[in-house]
Symmetry: C2
Subunit: 660 residues, 2 copies
Amino acid sequence: MQMTENKLHLKHVEITSGFWQRYRDLVVKEVLPYQWQVMNDEADISISVDPQNNGQDKNSHAVANLKIAAGQQEGHHYGFPFQDTDVYKWLEAAAYSFNYHPDADLQKITDNLINLIADAQEDDGYLSTYFQIDAPERKFKRLQQSHELYTMGHYIEAGVAYYQATGNQKALDVATRMADCIDRNFGLEDGKIPGLDGHPEIELALTRLYEATQNDKYLKLAHYFLNQRGQDPEFFDKQIAIDGNSDERDIIRGMREPDLTYFLAAEPIKNQKVPQGHAVRVVYLCTGMAYVARYTGDQDLLDACHRFWTDLVRRQMYITGNIGSTTQGEALTYAYDLPNDTMYGETCASVGMAFFARQMLHLDAKGEYADVLEKELFNGALSGMSLDGKHFFYVNPLEADPVESQLNPDKSHVLTHRADWFGCACCPANLARLITSVDQYLYTVDGQTILSHQFIANQATFADELQITQTNNFPWEGNIHYAVKNPQEKAVKLGLRIPGWSPKFTLTVNGQVRTEVVQDGFIYLDIQAATTDIDLVLDMQVKLMQANNRVNADFGKVAIQRGPIVYAAEEADNPAPLWQYQVAADAKTTYHYEQSLLNGVGVITVAANKQAAMSDQQVLYAPVSTGVENSETELTLVPYYAWANRLNGQMSVWLNRQYH
Amino acid sequence: MQMTENKLHLKHVEITSGFWQRYRDLVVKEVLPYQWQVMNDEADISISVDPQNNGQDKNSHAVANLKIAAGQQEGHHYGFPFQDTDVYKWLEAAAYSFNYHPDADLQKITDNLINLIADAQEDDGYLSTYFQIDAPERKFKRLQQSHELYTMGHYIEAGVAYYQATGNQKALDVATRMADCIDRNFGLEDGKIPGLDGHPEIELALTRLYEATQNDKYLKLAHYFLNQRGQDPEFFDKQIAIDGNSDERDIIRGMREPDLTYFLAAEPIKNQKVPQGHAVRVVYLCTGMAYVARYTGDQDLLDACHRFWTDLVRRQMYITGNIGSTTQGEALTYAYDLPNDTMYGETCASVGMAFFARQMLHLDAKGEYADVLEKELFNGALSGMSLDGKHFFYVNPLEADPVESQLNPDKSHVLTHRADWFGCACCPANLARLITSVDQYLYTVDGQTILSHQFIANQATFADELQITQTNNFPWEGNIHYAVKNPQEKAVKLGLRIPGWSPKFTLTVNGQVRTEVVQDGFIYLDIQAATTDIDLVLDMQVKLMQANNRVNADFGKVAIQRGPIVYAAEEADNPAPLWQYQVAADAKTTYHYEQSLLNGVGVITVAANKQAAMSDQQVLYAPVSTGVENSETELTLVPYYAWANRLNGQMSVWLNRQYH
C-alpha cells in the first residue's frame, strides 16, 4: 500500500457544532491558561487527593526543568522523568487552537517556549531534562523506564503541529534534530542501541514527522522500533544490569516490577495474539502500527492492527469507550473482564484509542472505527475533564461511590470528583490536544472518496473549491444536514457514516428519499452537481443496552444510551443507593433537553422499581422475598461525560435489571 | 458480673457426629503429621502459588528456630517474626486431640517439644526466637510489628491446653513464666513499657491462663492491654523513632504503612464505634474483650463486645461467615461492603469469629451467637482445608474464577485451589486446633442452666452424673434426639437452640408435643426426671436466600442454603460461565445425600434458566433482548466448605436471579 495521492485533500475544517465550540472555547479560555500556570508553578492547586500522585507534591516544575536544562536557571530536575511531556502536549494543544482561535498573546508565549525548548536541546539533538540535569551519564541506558523516546516523541508531535499551525521553522528543526539524534543512536547497525523505549510513542511521532518532511528516514526508524519490539526480551534487563541493579538506580520507583507484557515487549508484535499490558502503551503502539502500516504496507503490522482492534473493541472495551480493567499496571486484562468499580479506564487510554481509530479509518473505510472514535469523543475521553475545564479524571469508572472509594482500599484509585492536577499529569493536556484538534477527526479522504464519519457540525473546505457544510444539533438531535458545494463539478464519492447505534435512518438527497445499501457502515453518494443537499435522519430513540453475556460484571444489567451518548445515574438526581433501583427491559423512557443543566444536556428518565432499604438492624441474610417494599419510580440520567460536576455522590452506568 | 459457680460444670464431651469424627480423625491421621513434617522442613511442598508468601520459600524452619534459640543448633532465624506460632498452634491442636485420640507416639513428640520450648525460653521467661537469635537488643522495642506478645500468647494458649490435656506441669510453667515476664515489662508503672502488641492475642491468652491458674495477676494484665489499646496513638511511632526509622529496620517489610486503624489502636476500645482494620486482629481482640468482660464485668468492654458483634454479624459478614472485604490489610471495610470476588475472608478470621461467638455465649444466652458459631464451623472456617487435610485456603472467596485470578491482578490473591502451605502459615494450624477442640464449642453452662447450642452429635458428661446424649445425622438431617440421664434428679434447665434458619420446628418431650416459646433463640425445658427423651425436628427445606438489599454486591442474586450449610455452584458440576445461569425466586429445588461425592455430601439442584453464550464476534453492547437464547436447565450445588476439591474451575455462592 502506497500513500495515495489525495487530489481531494482537505484544506480546512471549521467546527460549528455548539457542543464542541463550547469545549474548544473552554480550552482556549480556561484550560490552556490554567495548565500553563500549573506548569509554571503559579497555580494554587492541590494534588493530594490524587491516588496516582506517587509522592509528588503540588509543584509541577515542568517549565522550570526546561529552564534549568537551558542554563537559564539553577537547580535540580523535579517530577517524573517524562515531566517535559506535560509542556509538549500543552504546546501541541495550543498549536491546534491557533487553527480556530488565533491569539497573538498566546503565540508570544508559545514562540518563547519553542525558543526555550531549542535552548534546552543539546547540540546533538538530545532533549530530556531529567537526564540532562541530573543523570547525563545515563542517557539511553535504562530505556525500560527512562521514557526518553516517549518524551522526545511528544515533542516531535508538538513541533510538527506547531510548525503546521504557525510556520515556525525552529519548532520543526528541533523535532528533526531530535529524530536525527535518535536515528544515530538506535538501530541494529554496529555501535547503535538495538533496543527501544518502554513506552511507545516515538513510532507514531516519527511517522508524523515523516508526513511533515517526507523524509523516508523517519518512517524507516519508526518501522524499526515496531519491528524490534519484543525481538530481544532481555534487552531491558541487560541494560539494567549495566546501569545498576539496585532499587536506588530505578528512575521510577517500582517500574522494574511489571513483566514484559506490561511493556508490550514480551514477543514481537506479529506474534502477539491479543493486546495486553499497560492500556495507554497499547493504544499508542497500535496508533504507531496503523500509521506505519499505512505508509509501508507491512502485512504483519496490518494484521496485528486488525487483530488488536477486534480484541480491544469487541472484548475489552467499556460501553463508554474506556479501556483498562485494572489499576495494577493501569492495564488491560483479558476478554470480557470488565469490572465497573475496580477498573481503571484512564483518560489517556481513551484519547489514544481515538488516535488508533483515526488511523484505522485510513486503512479501511469501516464505520466501526468511526463508531469507536465517536464513542471516545462523546464519552470515555471527554469524561476526563470537568465542565469548568479545571478539574480532571485520570481514572474513569462506570460505577463509583465516594464512601467505597474512601473506605475500601481496592477502590481508592477511583476518584468520585475530578482533581486539580496529578503528580503524573499525562491526562489533562492529552485531552486538551484532542479537543483542540477535533477538526482533524471528521473526514478521511482517499482518492476521490471523502468519508464524512462524524456528526460534529462543521464547514469543510477541500481542494478544487469543494465545500461540505454539515449542520445539526448533534448529539442532542439526529437530523443531519449536508450542503455540498462543488462548483467545478468534479466527480466525487461521498461516504456518509451510518452509525452502529442507528441501523434505522432515512436519507434524502435534494428532497428525494434514497434507499442506499450500507457498506461497512457507510452509504456512498456520487456527487457531481454544483450543489447537493442531503438530509440524514438518525435514530435518536433512547435505547436500553445490554452487554454480551460473556461479561460477568454486566450480566443482569442495562445501560441507557441515546445516539452516541452513554448515560449515567447520579446520586445528585436519584436518592442513593443506586443499586436498589431496577429497570425492566421494556421500561418507559423520556428524553428532554435541559439548557440550564450541566451546560445544556439531554436528560433521560427511565421507569424503575425502587426497593426500600431494608433495616440495618435485621439479619444480613434471609429467605427471599421477605420484607422488601417496592415502589414505582423513575431514574433520571445525565450523559456520562458530564457526571461528577455536582454533588460528590454515587454514579452508575449499569443499572440492575428488574427480576421476578 | 462475677464468675458463676458452675455446680453443673461440664466434664467431658465425646463427639459422635460422623461428620465431625471424620474431620477430627483426619486431623489426627493426616493434618498433624503433615504439619509436623512441614515445620521440620521434611515435607516436599510448594508454596510458590501462595500470593501471600511474602518472599518466603518452601522452608518453614519453625522447629529449627526453636532449636537455634535453645542452643541445640547453629544458624539464623528464618521466616516471619511470629514463625514460632505455627508450632504453638500445632501443639495446641495436638493437645486437644489427646482428649479423643490418645497417642503415645505423638505425645512423645509433643513432650519433647515442650522440653525444647522450655530450653529455648530465656531465664526471665522471654521467648520469641527471632529476637533471641538475631536481634536480642531489640526485644519489646518495635511492638507495632514484632508480634512478641502475640507469639507468646499463642504459646500460653498451647501450654494451658497441653497441661489440661496431659497434666504436663512444665507446659504450664513455661506459660506462667512467659506471662510473668510480660507482667514485669508492661504496664503504666514507672519503668514499664506503657504499650501493647500490634496484634491482639495476649489478652485472650492471659485470661485463659487466669482460668487455669486462678491467678488474678493475669486477668489484670489482660485487662491492662485492653484498656491501654488506643490510649497513646503515638506509642508505636515513638518506639520506631528510637528503634530506627529506616525501612531496613522494619521487622516485617511494609508493616509501617497501615494506619492505626489497621492495628485497632487509633482510639480506646470504648470509643471505637465499629470494628475496622485487620480482620484477624479484630476477632482476636473481640475474643479477649468478651473473655475479660466475663470475669471483670467491665461495662465498657461489654458494650463494645455487643457493638462490635452487631456490626460484624449484621453488616460485615459474608453468608458463609467469612469476614474481611479487602486483601489490602486483610481487612474489614465498612457496613454492607461485601464484594464476592475481590474479598479476603481469611480462614483465621473465621476461626477467630468462632472464638468470639463462644465467648459471647458466656455473656448472654442468645441463639444468634450460636448461629454464627455454627455458620463458621460448617462453612467459612471449614472451607480453609481440603478434604485430604493437606491443602489450605488463606483466602475464602464467594466467587472465584481461575482465569480471573490468573489474568486480573486485582484477584491474584484469590486462589482457586488450596495451597500446600503458606509463607505466612497462620491458617492451617489455626483450623486444626478448632477442629480438635470442637467438643468445647457445644455447651455453655451457667449456674443450673445448660445451653446445648450445637447439633453436632455427642455424649456429654456433667457433674452429678448428668449426661446428655445427642444423636442425629446433622447437618444432612434435621431430626435431633436428646437423651438426658439425670440419676440424681437434680433440677436443671436445659436450653435447646432453635437456629435462626429454622423458625419452624417441632419439639417432642417424652413423646408429648410441646409448644414452647423461643427466648432469644432458645427453648428452655425444666429437667428433673431421671431420664428425659427429647426430639427436636428442624426445618431442613432448601432455602433460597437473599442479602439485605443494602449490599450492592448481592443485589439481584440468591444463595442456596439448607440447614446451616451454604451451597456453592462449581464448574465441576455446571458448564461455565456460572453467571449465565439465572434462578427464579420460586425455582424448584431437590436435595439428596450422595455418599460417594466429596466424602459424602448433601447435593442440591435448583431449576435455572441458562443463557447461551453470545458470539465473541459480535459487538460488545447492543439493545436489550437481541440474540439471547435461553434454555431451562438446573444447577447442581455442593456445600461451600467442600468446593475446590475437584476441577480447578469457577465457583459462585451467589447466583443471578432471573430477570424479565
